[in-house]
Subunit: 415 residues, 2 copies
């Protein structure tokens, strides 16, 4: 089944907001066997909305809109689509009740002006929005099907999952599915990875392969197009195994696997508690580890030793070591990791000290120089990594590499 997206919002066209909704919807629909064949973004203008939705209906008969719902948008999408369907707007008591409850929580009472927000096109299915103000609307008629969703990402996402995907999957029926699988790699450049993968395209055909580089990572995405579900799953599993085999130790996970979660899992298997010591990343590594729900069972905490004083006072890094090698050096990285393990009472600690830029670089230690230290049950070591990019990129890459190297070291330990 094909469909089109229509995104309503002047802000999007002017580029004040990056449209992340459309990609998310594209992925979710593909997984449900629905292919987005076109998407159109128009401004908050009834004529433009009518033209875009009308054109999309004429081409595919199924349209999902985002944005232009709710009081601040004057419900422009709802009104325009209702017109297009020749549907009158009717007052919906359940929507009004939700609105009153929402106002009550804020200690307010909705006014007569708010009543328009409780009107829906006659015949529309209301998709309750527990995450925000305007409900989603599912309107079907002679012109086709239009599903209207709010533009606020969290509301769109939840309505899509709860109200839209189950209904669309049921409609899309027996056709093949579009499914993907992702093998996540890190610590290897895209071009080197491509060489390692060799004749992979021929080997996994008719599946296709895409390289998706990120900060310190390259995701490999294999996609099955319009195959029967069972065949798609079988071929994807084979492709994933082949990709992981050829990427070797650089393949750390699948799908949305997060390296921080995998690190904590390896630590958990071995009964090890983890600590961090961060200089140039200033908390990003701790932030990634604690983003994992339940991380408190393995992660004790850490020290953000941004200043030299903090390295000495909280991590027992000797002043002489700092003077001899500088804060960005192997000996200091190793001492930071050992200090963090001692300070937090952890069996495992990782440290990061580097030059994130834009200033502070030198000929010997240019911006991007990062030393990582590891304090493990078997001993302490430090490694140098030369990264590139903006301050933000260097920091994100440093945290990613630290997680990857810690993950490798943990896996070498007996469970």
């Amino acid at each position: 089944m094909n469909c089109e997206l229509v995104t309503v919002g002047t802000e999007l066209l002017l580029g004040f907001t990056v449209d992340t909704n459309s990609a998310e919807i594209g992925r979710a629909l593909a997984a449900a066997g629905v292919r987005v064949v076109r998407r159109t973004a128009v401004s908050d203008d009834p004529a433009a909305i009518r033209d875009a939705v009308g054109g999309a209906l004429a081409r595919t008969g199924v349209v999902i809109t985002t944005g232009g719902l709710g009081s601040t948008a004057d419900d422009i999408t709802k009104k325009t689509v209702a017109e297009l369907f020749g549907a009158t707007l009717v007052f919906d008591p359940s929507v009004w009740a939700d609105l009153e409850a929402r106002f009550a929580r804020l200690g307010r009472v909705p006014s007569a002006n708010n009543r328009g927000q409780a009107e829906v096109p006659a015949g529309a299915v209301v998709l309750p929005n527990r995450w925000g103000t305007a409900p989603g609307l599912w309107l079907e008629g002679p012109p086709g099907l239009v599903v209207m969703l709010p533009g606020v990402p969290v509301e769109m996402r939840n309505l899509l999952a709860s109200g839209v995907l189950p209904r669309l999957a049921a409609r899309s029926g027996q056709g093949g599915v579009i499914r993907s699988t992702t093998v996540r790699t890190t610590g290897i450049a895209e071009s080197t990875l491509a060489e390692r993968l060799g004749d992979i395209d021929e080997r996994i055909a008719p599946l296709t392969l895409a390289y998706l580089p990120g900060l310190g990572s390259v995701d490999l995405r294999a996609t099955a197009w319009n195959l029967p579900a069972a065949e798609a799953d079988r071929r994807l599993a084979e492709a994933a195994a082949l990709l992981a085999e050829r990427a070797g130790e650089h393949a750390y996970g699948a799908g949305d696997d997060d390296l921080a979660a995998l690190v904590l899992e390896e630590a958990r298997k071995r009964g090890l508690l983890v600590a961090v010591a961060e200089s140039c990343t200033g908390g990003l590594l701790g932030g990634r580890l604690t983003a994992v729900p339940g991380s408190s069972s393995q992660f004790l905490g850490g020290v953000i030793s941004y200043s030299d004083g903090a390295k000495q006072e909280l991590l027992w890094v000797p002043e002489a070591l700092l003077a001899a090698h500088g804060a960005v050096s192997g000996p200091v990285a190793a001492a930071m990791a050992a200090g963090a393990a001692r300070a937090l009472g952890a069996q495992v600690a990782v440290s990061i000290t580097g030059i994130a830029g834009p200033d502070g670089g030198s000929k010997e230690k240019p911006v991007g120089t990062v030393w990582l230290g590891f304090s493990m049950p078997g001993g302490t070591d430090a490694i140098l990594r030369n990264t590139i990019g903006t301050r933000e990129e260097v920091r994100a890459r440093a945290a990613q590499i630290a997680l990857f190297e810690l993950w490798r070291r943990l896996r070498r330990l007996p469970e």
Copy 2:
């Protein structure tokens, strides 16, 4: 002048890639007085490209395309647009010379198969691409103007700046510009803010106002449409002043101002050094402060006291306090802040302890409960904030509120 964007790429429609190009082009064109009135994304399919570009030309006469250029895309956009213009493809020796030079740098020689990449639609202006493989193309004829750019962001960006914007600005002639200004607010809900702003829409007309909510923030963006540059700037300055006045202390900055940078600036003015103690945010607050270039002059570091043990050992939080009030409490938050100031030797410290979820909530302390502690030259205090959202949202909001409350406290101190 109006124009439309057409984006070519199956990956985009499937959502494997988020389209950041379109927002960037929208902003760049607006600054040059060109308004993007619609954008359309289609797959790598000649019929879809022809339909989208043809429709856009019929509506506005000016179209910018991205993607579908170069060898991996089989130059599908170039071929399709040439057909639409009835233009034959002709071999361009300068493009071929660039191609040969590029191959030579890789130690290779282009083959006859590569000659197609050096063909351009007859009459097209070639926009040399020093940043990648496929040149941009500027094709003008009876159907209108089509500017074709590659989809790789760095190539698109550079070609837009070097080849496209100057030409478009020259064409758009004497018309007005589209310019915006943003007032950033935090610590106030969108609906409450709207009430405070009152009759703002009428007061700033013909400028328009948009509310852009984020995690713990609402940006207010005023936009001037097609006004002479001087008038636009004057009106925007007036609107920004009025917005800031009405938003009161919740208005912390303008444009891209970052609250973390403003905190460090206030600390710098007063010669104060800053430290943090983080529990549920696990480093996010330190990460935000150290994201600011030059933060090391005011930020000493902190302690990620994720475990109770870390709170006791590294921050001197009394065990009895933890037992009596729990880790998520005002007394513990205050003790964490005081401990961080002492541990790091800072005059100012802020602490965060809360329940980020998804587990760990209780009736008395539901998920989203966040206590913030502040250790300032004038004394120590703690405040409670009830936030909502996912684990990620609670953590991001907690860090944002901590920065806002620290910023307010710093500004109350004499410089």
